[in-house]
């Protein structure tokens, strides 16, 4: 057996490094062609790796996070006077809006009662820290340090301080992966104010996702507010996304509210599960039962 092993080893030595490299190239190409990106086993393996490397990511991302905090602090110190004045003005504006919001809330509850509309599911927010930034020319994803243990589920919406940033695509025990709105595989249903025009916000691996599947002959104004439509039931309705801009060729895209390159903390929005509508087969049997 030892002799056979030695002979095999000498045979391996006979193969040149270039030969082995070509075999590896072919193997990798076969993997690329035949293994699906959304393969369940690979997805589980990915999430397992994220869980395993969470402490490492956490450790190596800390100095960077501290440096960013210090940089922000220094910037804030320089602009302290201006920031204070801006905050004062914003506070005044918000105070004025509080009264109006209270009145609207009462009116909304009254309309809901009159129309017998179901109450929107209450939102539960889970805070998480971004520990790995996987943004590259080919993918736009992040890893957050919160997972199944904290109640995170696939498909949940993720927001930053001022708007939607993406949604959860896979969840591990202590970590989760979030697909940013700019990723090519991201498609989120949205509504555009003021006409509530429906569209799909699709990522294009650039900084500004584009609006697709707009109704024909729709006139969209530049600067119009884009919010989530809630269609599909995974992303709650009304989360601000950004404002519409139009490029030189007249194609609308969205200028996101959130800076996706400077995310330290994110909020994962968990909604109550929405009940599935009855199956078609059950619905068909109802008249029969009536007879």
């Amino acid at each position: 057996m030892v002799a056979s092993f030695k002979s095999k080893r000498s045979e391996l030595r006979g193969i040149s490094v270039s030969g082995v490299t070509i075999i590896c190239l072919v193997f990798a190409a076969i993997c690329l062609i035949f293994v699906s990106r959304n393969d369940r086993v690979i997805g589980d393996l990915r999430q397992l790796m994220s869980d395993v490397f969470t402490p490492t990511y956490d450790l190596i991302s800390r100095p960077g996070a501290e440096l960013r905090k210090m940089r922000n602090m220094a910037t804030n110190l320089v602009d302290l006077q201006a920031s204070y004045q801006n905050l004062e003005a914003e506070n005044e504006r918000l105070r004025a809006q509080v009264g109006e919001l209270r009145r609207n809330r009462v009116l909304l509850d009254r309309y809901r009662e009159l129309l017998a509309l179901p109450v929107e599911p209450s939102l539960h927010v889970i805070s998480a820290r971004v520990i790995a930034d996987l943004q590259s020319p080919f993918v736009r994803t992040l890893v957050a340090n919160t997972g199944r243990l904290a109640g995170v589920k696939e498909g949940q919406a993720v927001t930053g301080g001022s708007g939607l940033v993406g949604r959860i695509v896979s969840v591990g025990r202590v970590s989760s992966r979030l697909l940013l709105l700019t990723d090519f595989n991201s498609h989120v249903p949205v509504r555009i104010a003021p006409n509530n025009t429906r569209a799909i916000l699709s990522g294009n691996n650039a900084d500004n996702p584009v609006l697709r599947f707009l109704p024909k002959n729709t006139n969209i104004e530049e600067g119009a507010e884009v919010v989530t439509s809630g269609d599909g039931g995974q992303v709650p309705i009304g989360i601000p996304v950004g404002v519409v801009r139009v490029d030189d060729d007249g194609r609308p895209f969205v200028d996101l509210r959130e800076d996706l390159h400077n995310l330290s903390y994110v909020r994962i929005i968990s909604t109550r599960n929405i009940e599935q509508p009855p199956r078609e087969t059950n619905a068909r049997t109802l008249p029969d039962l009536g007879r």
Binding site: C24, F27, I30, I33, L134, Q135, P137, H261
Partner: protein, 173 residues
């Protein structure tokens, strides 16, 4: 190509330094490449720092198993990055293959020549990545972002090769 390095490695310690340390460096750089920088400019690109030790292994690596380990590390990057399995596995092996093909020229070249060689092969690798992304329906890449990533990687060649250059210098003594 025989796979024999033009540099003779004498002691097992030196052999370990030349063959194993760059592999650990590749693994470490794949992981640290994911640390959020917070800079908008660099966030657009993938600096692919791990390509520098791959380049050095292609030039000075001695073992037949090296391309296999490199491909496995590429597959590992695919798993942690979320790219399709085999994407980085193929690109990193292609990079190794291209660099190893120019081994005789690059080993004898000056540092500037090696840097130029690295930049050229790195650009070719990212170009290959751009084309693969273009033909797949689940991927998309912008040409200038891919080329910008190659340029950024070339800029990082100097500091990382300083670590590896010391290693090679020690090996040559």
């Amino acid at each position: 190509m025989s796979g024999q390095s033009p540099i003779s490695v004498q002691t097992p310690g030196q052999r370990l330094l030349v063959n194993v340390l760059p592999l650990f460096l590749i693994f470490f750089l794949i992981l640290t490449g994911h640390v959020p920088s917070g800079f908008e400019f660099t966030a657009h690109f993938d600096s692919a720092l791990f390509l520098v030790p791959v380049f050095f292994l292609a030039l000075y690596g001695q073992r037949t198993i090296t391309p296999v380990i490199i491909m496995v590390l590429g597959l590992f990057k695919d798993i942690v990055d979320g790219t399709p399995i085999g994407f980085w596995g193929l690109l990193i092996t292609f990079f190794f293959f291209a660099a190893q093909g120019q081994q005789q020229v690059l080993v004898r070249a000056s540092f500037r020549g090696r840097w130029l060689g690295y930049s050229g092969i790195c650009s070719l690798t990212f170009l290959a990545g751009y084309f693969i992304a273009a033909v797949r329906d689940d991927m998309l890449s912008l040409f200038w972002v891919s080329m910008g990533s190659a340029a950024l990687s070339s800029l990082w060649f100097l500091p990382i090769s300083l670590i590896l250059g010391l290693l090679i210098a020690e090996d040559q003594e």
